[in-house]
Structures are given as C-alpha cells and as structure tokens.
Amino acid sequence: MSSDNRDTGPRSARHYPARPKAVYLLGTCLVDSFYPQAGMDAISLLEREGVEVIFPQQQTCCGQPAYNSGYDEQARQVARQQLAAFAADIPVVVMMGSCAAMLHHDYPRLFAGEPEEAQARALAGRSYEFSEFMVNVLQLELTDNSRQPLTVALHTSCSARRSMRVAEQHKALLSSLSGVQLVEPQRATECCGFGGTFAVKQGDISAAMAKDKADNMAATGADMIVSGDCGCLMNIAGTLEKQGRAMPAKHLATLLWERSQ
C-alpha cells in the first residue's frame, strides 16, 4: 500500500538513536493476517540482537486506507487507537514501508490542530521502517548460513523508496547475504500498481501496471521475489500466479532470518 508522501526528495538525513533495550513491533494489518511469519521472523532477528520486542495486542491498522481515500475522520479514529497502543517512549519498528510512512509522515498532519498532535509527533519521531531500524539503529551484520545459492528480484515499494527512503537499506541487508545474488528488474523503481484502494477503485489501470511489473519480475529469471511491503508482494505474486507462472515471494525479514539462522 502506498503512502501519500508529502516529501518530494531528499532534504535532510534522519537522526538515529542509540541501540535501545526494547522496541515495539507494529505488525501492520496485512502482515497480521496474510504474512504473520514475516512478523515472527523480524521478532527473531530483533531478539537475537538482544532487543526485547513488545507486541501490543491492542494494535490494529495504521489508518492509511481511509486516509488515502480522503476519509480523514475515520482515519483519525483508527490512528488514535495506535497512539494509545504504542504510547511508551520506545522505538516502533514497522513491518511495511507504507505504514511506516503513514506514522512517520502522515500522523503529524492527520492530527494537526487536534488534542493528540504532540503525541502523534512523538510517535512519528520514533517510528522506523524495519530495514531502516536494522541498518541505521542496530547496524545489523548477518552471516549467510545457507549453502543454497539464491537469486532474488527485489521490489522496493514506492513508500519505502520515496517516503521512507530506505531503498539502500533493503539492498544493503540482502547484499550482506553472501549466497544471495540480487538481480535488478527493468523499470525497478516503478509502482507495481497496488496502491491500496487504488487497486479496487481503478482495477483496470492497477491490473495493467501489475501485469507489466509481473513481466519484468519474471524476466529476471530470479528464484524469488522479495519486498518489504506485503501489499506489493500480494499484488505481484498474485498476478504471476494467476498467469500460471508463480514465483515464491517473501518479506525481507523472512529471507534474512531463514538464511542467517
């Protein structure tokens, strides 16, 4: 799901805190129901680094679907629930780029002039996309313990690339696995056509974009598609499967954990 990012290009680098003792994990609603293993693998990676993971059972959805559709009041109602669920002053690791962007960029705007504005700003300031946290805060170093060579076609979501600007972090994490070879698909930086409610409201355009992305992914001949956003994974893998040329598709955290165990 793509975030409607206000940022229009690099301006300043983000300041990162020292390695914390504990973090919150924000699973995201898509990971929760469709890719829970990605969340569990991220938990395993964080715990191996000596970081305690706190998973608020009160978390639901960041509110992005309503926000991107222009239903600000409904988005705020749901976002308020997350303000409460992630209230303690510890970093929040977010399992998808678009949801991270929603918290980091959109919450302050969504709550501008509301009683929770300061709270929303504070949460925005301590929310990190998964790979961003692993690279910039934990300086994660991995050893590839798998003997199986693997070629991976990476799809960095638009919100991870343009809103959170963590495309390099995705690449860095995968590149640190010695047995993994990264292959670059054609038009790699282009949207896969998911876009949350866009896929429903403009089904024909979305499908045309997804088909082109699927073609480019298949053309790489990679063994697997990897992404840090499950909306894109669902969209690309689902299109390939429908066309009878299914490719395995995994969240970045899953591949990292599987190969470094």
Binding site: S2, D4, N5, R6, D7, T8, G9, P10, R19, P20, K21, A22, G27, V31, S33, F34, P36, M40, I43, V51, E52, V53, I54, Q59, T60, C61, G63, P65, A66, Y67, S69, G70, Q74, Q77, V78, Q81, A85, A88, I90, C158, T189, G195, G196, T197, F198, A199, V200, Q202, G203, D204, I205, S206, A208, A210, K211, M234, N235, G238, E241, K242
Partner: protein, 526 residues
C-alpha cells in the same frame, strides 16, 4: 488499433482511417473517466506510444541531472522562487502591470474563461484581425480560445508542430509539452497527407520521413506567419521588475508568432509572474531539463515592448491577457496553494505510471497526469472532474520528479478529502471564508455507500477486541474465502489468510503487550 501496412492504402482509405480516429476521439471524450481509461488501456498502439515516450523522456531528464545533490539544491531554489512569487502575488502582479504598461504593452485581466475569450476577441476585432497564428499555449487550450474565435469567424492556426497535428486531427493535446505524443509516425503521415494542404493548394505527398514531414508543415506555416493578422502566444515567465514576457520554445514558431504579425496577444495564467530577472536562469534551467531533457531550448524569447519608432521588426501592438480562471481560489486555499508553483514542464506526467498507461486523453481535460489531477478539479469543479482523483496509486514518482517540489501526491490526497468532505460546497452561500478555503464542488463525490464502508471499517479497527475477532474469523475461515473478489481477482489470485494471525503468534510466544511500568526501557542494550 492494428497497424495496417500503409503501402496497401489509397488516399481515400487513409482519409477514412483519419476520420475514424477523429470519431473515436470524440466518442471517447463523451464517456466517463473509467471508460476512457479502459479504452486507452485496450489501445495497443497508444500504450506503446506513451510507454515509449515515458522511457525516452525519463532517460533524457536523468542524463541532465547526473549530480543528485546539485539537482536537489536546484530544486530547492526553484521551489523558493515560485513560493516567493506566490507569497507576493498581488503585489508582483501590480508591479508587472505597471512596468509592462510603461513599456507600451497593454495589460488586461480576465476572471474566467469566457471573459478572457471575449477580451481577446475584442482586441482582434478592434484591429480587424481575421486570421491568427498561435504559438503553443496551454492556457488558451484551458479557456478553449480556438473554438470561441472560430465560431466568430476568426481562423486560428496552431504553429507548434505538435499542436498543428492535433488541430488537423480535430483532437486536443495529450501532453502539455508534446501535444501529439499519442500519434505514431504512420498516423502523422496519413494526417498530413489527407488533411494538410500546401500553400499553392497542392496535396502534401505521403511520407513517413520525419524531416520531410516537418519540412512540409514548415512550408505551409511559413506562409501563414507572413500573412496572419495577429499572433497569439503563451508566456512561461512574466518578469515584474522589468515588465518582460519570457517565452521558451524549440521550433522558432514562437518567435515568428510574436514578431511577424502586426498584433501580438500574449495570454498567461496569473501565477506565471516572477519578481526579477535574477530568478529566471534557475527556472529556465529546471524547465527545459525537466521537460525535454535539454540544457536550453533553441529559442528563448524576451518580449519587452512593441516595435519602437525606427525599428524594422516586431508587432505594432502587444497585449497581455492575465487569466485567473480559478487560480485565486487555489491561492486562498490553505493546503492547495502549491498547485500554483507549477511551471508546466510535464515531468510529472512523464514519470507517472498511470499516465504512461492510459495517456493524456483519458483524463478528459486540458491538463493530464498528476498536475492535471490537481489543477483540473480545482478549475472545473469536483463534480465534473473528481473521478480522475482515484487514478493515482500515490506512488510519489511525480513529487520526486517535480522541479519545483510541488507535493503532488499530497495535493491529490487532499483533493480526495475535499471530494468526499461532508461539509459540502455552497458557492452561493454567505461565508466568504468557506468559498475561498474550499474547492468548487466540495463533497460532490461523497456517497452513502462509501461513507458506510469507511464507518464500518473504522468501527472494526478502533476496537481491538472486534479487530482480533475479525482476524480470527479470517484465518479460521480462510478455506471458505471466495475465489473471486471484484476487480482484484480478475488478474490476480485470491490471497489466503494464514492459519494464525501475528497477534496470536506473538501471544503464544509470550511477548509482552506493553512494557512493565517502571522498567527503564529507554536505556540502550548491550
């Protein structure tokens, strides 16, 4: 549309094909956004044209900005210059008028499209002008000037090659910089052969050779420049301090339009003003590199007065028509004001994955692509143009490409919120504040059904207990999921929920749901 080998076609068969394209275009414009998009997606030659153009133009722009940091600094300056203009807009416009008038250029103001057309018509009438050559101008497309003048017996000939072709085809531009980008070589060859006439009245021979095609059009236009009663052009930048109109172009048609006829009428949106010449180089650099991947265009015209006594060339009268047409409403809107930063380079459409697939005509508006989605509903109202707002995946490619940092994805989202705002627009109502801080047709796209869906969605997601129940039902009932789900499963398989949600798995693993109070968790580990 299948490509038919041209050798096998007679002139009349070609004419029939060209007529058919004209008919298809007119037919498409009658339809709703979704139908237009679908027609475009199914047109293979159109898709090839747009995807090819996108690849070409994105590549050319990229080659112009090898140093990312330099580019970002330049964008910072471009944004600052445009914001400076907007922050001082009323004052700069007054200064512009004063200095233009001092230079002998007559300034006119028009609040909407119709008065703008009337004004231009009056100027032409006063000068007994019956034939007009036009330089490329999007604002005259916006106010539908050609149509207005032609209905009143004034011949308007577009002199930009792309605009000329679009006019021959009886279509509208599909791109703000490359108006005929939707046509391939064979289509253009047929168009020139069947619809253009040489100055001596002879037919234009069929040719797919680009140089020959341009040569033919050039010969026809050259004659028109010499005989036209008036020239009408756009404006890229209007410099307030010196009273100068700047015009960027590549074909020399802008120079001809603004110098050969006795009368020159320039038409500009009120936002094009800049304070000083010192601001021009940065904007020009950004404009040409972002638009066509050129370091500089072949022509850069600076018009500061009519012909002076003793001068041989130039028009005897120069007029500037400043058009508002919804712009002061954008200016007064808290969040939509950056719309007016636009310098009309077209980079946003070149980088847009939706535009690359459906092309410009699908938007059904003068301005297509991301900037079109932002400008059009604000000019023409949400009721008529709000449907295009959902045709955006908010991927951010446009905002990243915009040379003056217009937050286009943010503005599109903002307009979506306006479109479904429960506080509907009553333009006739009393509150000036409401009129000026809302978009024409606010709330026009709000439906009971969608509002109910979002209310239900909110209810499920703001009550964690209810949410967990829903995810459990989803995982337990995953085998019962329907194989089809609307538009999603037409081209994708149905995603299947996992047997256990992350909430369940985390609980089973014994993860704390909240930190223990009093435990100092902000300290660092290891």
């Amino acid at each position: 549309m299948k490509h038919i080998p041209v050798q096998q076609l007679s002139t009349s068969e070609m004419a029939a094909l060209v007529d058919r394209e004209e008919h298809d275009f007119a037919d498409m414009q009658q339809r709703h956004f979704k139908a237009r998009a679908k027609m475009s997606l199914e047109n293979e030659s159109l898709r090839a044209s747009f995807l090819g153009a996108s690849n070409f133009l994105v590549g050319k722009r990229q080659a112009m900005f090898p140093d990312t940091q330099q580019l970002e600094r330049l964008r910072d300056r471009g944004e600052a210059i445009r914001q400076h203009s907007l922050n001082h807009l009323p004052e700069l416009l007054e200064r512009l008028e004063k200095n233009l008038t001092a230079n002998g250029i007559q300034v006119h103001w028009a609040e909407t499209a119709e008065p703008a057309c009337q004004l231009i018509h009056t100027i032409l009438n006063d000068n007994h002008a019956k034939t007009v050559v036009k330089g490329k101008s999007m604002v005259t497309e916006e106010i539908e000037l050609n149509h207005y003048l032609e209905q009143r017996g004034i011949e308007c000939l577009e002199s930009d090659m792309g605009e000329y072709l679009v006019q021959l085809a009886k279509e509208t531009p599909s791109h703000i910089i490359m108006p005929a980008i939707h046509k391939n070589k064979a289509q253009i060859a047929r168009l020139m052969h069947t619809r253009a006439t040489n100055s001596d009245g002879s037919d234009v021979p069929y040719s797919e050779d680009v140089d020959e095609l341009i040569g033919n059009a050039r010969a026809i236009l050259r004659d028109k420049f010499m005989t036209a009663d008036a020239g009408i052009s756009g404006v890229n930048m209007a410099v307030a301090n010196s009273g100068t109109l700047c015009l960027v172009e590549n074909e020399g048609n802008g120079r001809m339009t603004t110098t050969a006829p006795k009368l020159h009428i320039a038409v500009s949106g009120i936002e094009k003003v800049v304070e000083d010449f010192s601001q021009v180089p940065d904007l020009l650099t950004l404009l040409t590199r972002s638009a066509t991947g050129q370091k500089i265009t072949t022509y850069f015209n600076m018009i500061s007065s009519p012909k002076k006594p003793g001068e041989k060339d130039g028009p005897e009268q120069v007029h500037l028509v400043l058009v508002d047409n919804g712009r002061s409403r954008m200016f007064s809107h808290d969040t939509l004001k950056p719309t007016l930063q636009c310098i009309r380079c077209g980079a946003c459409m070149n980088h847009c994955p939706v535009y690359a697939r459906i092309g410009g005509h699908a938007y059904g508006s003068t301005y297509p692509g991301p900037i079109g989605q932002v400008v059009t509903p604000q000019i023409g109202g949400i009721e008529k143009h709000g449907d295009m707002l959902s045709a955006c995946s908010l991927n951010g490619a446009c905002g990243e490409a915009c040379p003056v940092r217009i937050p286009l994805p943010q503005l599109i989202r903002e307009l979506r919120a306006e479109a479904v705002n429960p506080d509907v627009d009553h333009v006739s109502a009393d509150s000036i504040r409401q009129v000026f801080n809302s978009v024409k047709g606010r709330g026009a796209k709000r439906t009971v059904a969608e509002s109910l869906i979002w209310r239900g969605w909110s209810l499920l997601h703001r009550q964690p207990g209810l949410y967990r129940l829903m995810t459990q039902l989803l995982s337990r009932g995953r085998k019962l999921m329907p194989a089809r789900l609307g538009a999603w499963t037409e081209s994708r398989t149905m995603p299947q929920a996992a047997p256990h949600s992350l909430h369940e798995l985390a609980r089973k693993r014994g993860l704390a749901s909240q930190p223990v109070p009093g435990d100092n968790l902000t300290e660092t580990s290891k």
